[in-house]
Amino acid sequence: MLKISNLHKSYAIGDSSLHVLKGINLDVENGEMVAIMGSSGSGKSTLLNIIGMLDEADSGDYILDGLPIKNLTEKKAAVYRNKFLGFIFQSFNLINYKNALENVALPLYYQGLKRKERQKQGKFHLEKVGLLDWAHHLPKELSGGQKQRVAIARALAANPKLLLADEPTGALDTTTSYEIMEFIQQLNDEGKTILIVTHEEDIAEMCKRIVRLRDGVIMEDKPVNQVRASQYV
């Protein structure tokens, strides 16, 4: 599904440069659920951004589903993002003047689907996260957990191959976090490949594999016994 080899990335800060990723090698198979852990500054977000094509590596290879991701034009990157990737953000990043259904249907709009079809699929995904009754509510009328579920529905809408979650529970309380994780686990059970950036141990334990980063290198890469979130809910 995902093959990264010898990935380097550095940022220029004033005159000096900050070497953030120092040769990352990572393989993710179909259907995996991987937690990327590390303290802040370890490069985990940068790695996720590169995987998400929001950022570009300085050197190294990145192959997504057999497609080499390199020197993409903005347009091509946008199309790939739309087709292959679903994003879940810490701060949800819903568009505040669009209702839940419109938010979910947005990636489909950029796919060029007709309005009716978008509505239909959007509703289907909202139902999946259990928020069909809230379809016409604005984000500000939803709770944090509900917002994140709408965001997950939005990430799923375009039927991506890979779900990328950047601290998906970072802005939520523990109970809600476990609810969200339970849902993400369900998605994984259905066969979705999922990458989660987190610094919370309990969240990482709910994945199937943990990759630990420190100072831009992978310290540890081990499979874990998945803790089912449902037992806490």
């Binding site: 929001l54 946008a78 993002r81 087709k83 568009i95 669009k98 990636p107 950029y110 309005r115």
Partner: protein
């Protein structure tokens, strides 16, 4: 390519974005609104003034020059200076024969005389005229007719008077046509009455009698007072004036450089000055209007720039979800063009109202300053096209600004 214009979402986005910043959108639109209002208002006024000038000049053949004689200022061929020259009918024939580009020459005579009607009387200037005068100086006849060839041929004692004369010589509500007035102790039948209008271009007179009759009663012989020369439209009346004067000087043995011997009033020159003024005003109007428009459109661009800055994160999210830079730019440009067009249309409509008001309060009656103050559809169309072009160009600035930020940086923005 333009399918997105018929997409409900495009307009939904537009509506959301504008309604989120209502106050600011309205304030910016005021700039464009004001610009186009100014453009329409000024262009309409310019047109109104032009129309009013044209109406005033419309009664004259503008390609005309009046020529009369004065006394010489230079001795020549044995003649002393200060000699009084008189034009004759022979001069008229010679001019018609020799000068290029002449439409017609109208000889005229003029004299002061006592005019009497029953107990009312007055001293007026009497003009002896040919029917052709009506072509040079259109008479607005209220009643009856102007002098015709029959009057000339038979030396008829007929007279055409202005309304002013009628008011001075006739009792109220008396029908003037067919009545007699005494001029120089000879009875003349009134055959027409005209409105003297409110502009005097060159010498004018209030009482017209047939030229031949004038010759007879004042014993003028071949002598004429002055003449009106009208050139063909394709000829320059200034050149005709120069040629004619030179010919006349030659015939009357006047020094070629004698500037005083002949007086003249060139209607074409006067008219040219007026139209030049109007053209200048129209230029200023376009300049001011378009400059204001540009300022207004810039204001819109400015606001969009701020809006884009505020929406950086949202734009980042959209790009993460798969919006291409082109789609983002397109939306912003559509917004800019939409705002300019809406503001422009409001400006055109309110500009129209101003012109309507102007027509109502300043455009009625004979001495109106603005006659049919209006702008043509073509001008409105051009203004709209300029708006669309400007709106697009100015929209490109925030559009490029929006996509110049990397999506990753846009997402980090709070």
């Amino acid at each position: 390519m333009f399918k997105f214009l018929f997409d409900r979402d495009t307009w939904q986005e537009l509506y959301d974005s504008i309604s989120k910043n209502k106050m600011r959108s309205i304030l910016t639109m005021v700039g464009v609104w004001w610009g186009i209002l100014l453009l329409i208002g000024l262009l309409g006024s310019a047109r109104g003034m032009e129309n009013s000038f044209n109406r005033l000049f419309g009664d004259f053949a503008t390609n005309s020059v009046f020529i009369w004689t004065q006394s010489t200022s230079k001795p020549f061929k044995g003649f002393q200076e200060g000699r009084r020259v008189r034009l004759t009918l022979t001069d008229v024939e010679k001019i018609e024969e020799n000068i290029e580009g002449i439409e017609f020459v109208v000889p005229r005579n003029q004299n002061q005389s006592l005019v009497v009607r029953n107990l009312l009387s007055g001293n007026f200037s009497i003009a002896g005229d040919y029917p052709l005068l009506d072509k040079v100086q259109k008479k607005k006849l209220i009643k009856g007719r102007f002098i015709n060839q029959n009057d000339i041929d038979e030396n008829k004692k007929t007279v055409v008077i202005s309304e002013d004369i009628y008011k001075q010589l006739f009792e109220k509500d008396v029908e003037p046509i067919g009545k007699y007035v005494r001029i120089n102790n000879i009875n003349f039948t009134v055959i027409g009455m005209f409105d003297s209008g409110n502009i005097n271009m060159g010498p004018s007179s209030d009482i017209h009698i047939p030229f031949t009759t004038f010759q007879q009663i004042y014993n003028q012989g071949e002598k004429i007072g002055w003449m009106v020369i009208t050139g063909k439209p394709e000829y320059d009346i200034k050149q005709i004036e120069l040629d004619t004067k030179l010919l006349l000087k030659n015939m009357h043995r006047i020094h070629p450089e004698d500037e005083r011997a002949f007086g003249s009033f060139n209607l074409g020159k006067a008219f040219g000055r007026m139209t030049g003024f109007l053209t200048g005003m129209q230029f200023v109007t376009w300049f001011v209007g378009i400059a204001t428009l540009i300022a207004g459109v810039f204001a819109i661009g400015n606001i969009l720039l701020i809006t884009v800055k505020e929406r950086t994160k949202e734009i980042g999210v959209r790009r993460a979800l798969g919006a291409t830079p082109f789609e983002i730019k397109r939306q912003i440009v559509v917004e800019a063009v939409f705002l300019t067009i809406v503001a422009g249309l409001f400006g055109i409509i309110s500009g129209g109202w101003i012109l309507i008001a102007m027509d109502k309060y300043l455009g009625q009656g004979d001495d109106a300053v603005f006659v049919n103050a209006s702008v043509s559809i073509g001008v409105v169309f051009i203004a709209l096209i300029i708006l669309v072009i400007l709106g697009t160009l100015i929209g490109l600035i925030p559009a490029f600004k929006a996509t110049s930020v990397k999506p990753i940086e846009a997402l980090r923005e709070e």
